[in-house]
Symmetry: C2
């Protein structure tokens, strides 16, 4: 096990932290958290990492719900089978995937490209065509899985950034998706919940897994080289 790295827990996010390798050895998914609040600038950095994740065609077919409200966390807890870190987390971050890809999504995105890059709509016509064809030829199930995949890349980025900042996060799929969708009225927004990230501080004293060694497939087993 890597020794616990030293973090710069200053009020500004330090520009240089530690290698991802060290961070990934330090991180684990706490089953218990202390309830302490995570600094706002760390929350923002985690959100920005998810924001900057690449996505298929750049469409970012997902959205995020950040919950800090104690009462709302308490209402989510039974939906997540009463796992304690739901209420003990400082923040919950719900990753929601599109269940549809509409012409409006595509045109909003193109408008953003036009505005950021100062290009013409005409120059994006072929790109628009290929996105529209993808939207029209994919079943709603295919769209939902495609969108969930993109959300999981962003989840990976959020997890990596949290580790680099020394913030504890637990990615969670163990919740009643239909109930959480209903709780946040996701179906009417053409969204569905895919994963929850509990963001907080590990409670080592009460977490039987906190000190356990990491178990990972050896590279020789995980990777075939050609």
């Amino acid at each position: 096990m890597a020794a616990k790295p030293i973090f710069l827990r200053s009020n500004t996010i330090p520009a240089i932290l530690m290698s991802l390798k060290d961070a990934l050895h330090w991180r684990y998914a706490p089953k218990r958290m202390t309830g302490a609040t995570v600094a706002p600038q760390h929350i923002e950095a985690i959100l920005r990492a998810a924001q900057y994740a690449p996505s298929s065609m750049g469409l970012q077919p997902f959205s995020l719900i950040l919950v800090q409200d104690t009462a709302v966390k308490a209402l989510i807890k039974p939906i997540a089978y009463n796992q304690p870190q739901i209420a003990e987390a400082s923040h919950l971050l719900l990753f929601c995937a599109y269940t549809q890809l509409t012409q409006q999504h595509i045109d909003t995105y193109l408008q953003q490209i036009i505005s950021v890059r100062g290009v013409s709509a005409e120059s994006l016509a072929a790109f628009r065509g290929s996105m529209m064809r993808f939207a029209q030829t994919s079943s709603s199930e295919q769209i939902a899985h495609w969108a969930a995949n993109q959300a999981y890349i962003a989840l990976g980025f959020a997890l990596a950034e949290a580790a680099l900042l020394g913030v504890d996060v637990t990615p969670m799929e163990g919740f009643d998706k239909a109930a959480l969708d209903k709780f946040f009225q996701l179906p009417s927004q053409q969204l569905c919940s895919v994963a929850l990230l509990a963001i907080g501080h590990r409670d080592e004293a009460n977490d039987f897994l906190a000190k356990e060694k990491k178990v990972r497939k050896p590279l020789a087993q995980l990777v075939k080289r050609i």
Copy 2:
């Protein structure tokens, strides 16, 4: 746009590089690469990031194929609609997801936990039960999607590590999945291809997107706060 950061391209992987924020502004998905070889220690770091990604129940239901062989890359190129970065990449990394979760997968994993943590099989009986119930009550389609989601977290980690190392990577879903599955004989291994990562060096001179500004949903649009 952030200025191009200075990388320490030494023979050893530097312990401290730059913040993920800077790295994520620097990175983009090159459409053209120079063909130059990426240093082996950077390839290993990217593999390790994928290896250390968290996964549902720790099962890591995916495997990776790393291709450096020029002839094999040339054979994959038409399967990926002749996108030039396939052959111009130094390495291709294919993420393959389980299409089944078998008792053998579960028991191999438990054996690894026993070996790494020095715990008894009895102490893992409840955990085994919950994994077996998940395997038995999920359809093969559900398993494939669940496994793909975990592979995408690992893809996110590989992308983040590459950015931190200043290595260019292009995540790609644009390939004929059935043809690539067949090429690597994945079905007989109960695997399917989910995403390709081209790893190399950006060719700015020939990539019309290399200098473009990043387009991302503003945080106010991406995140709802409660």
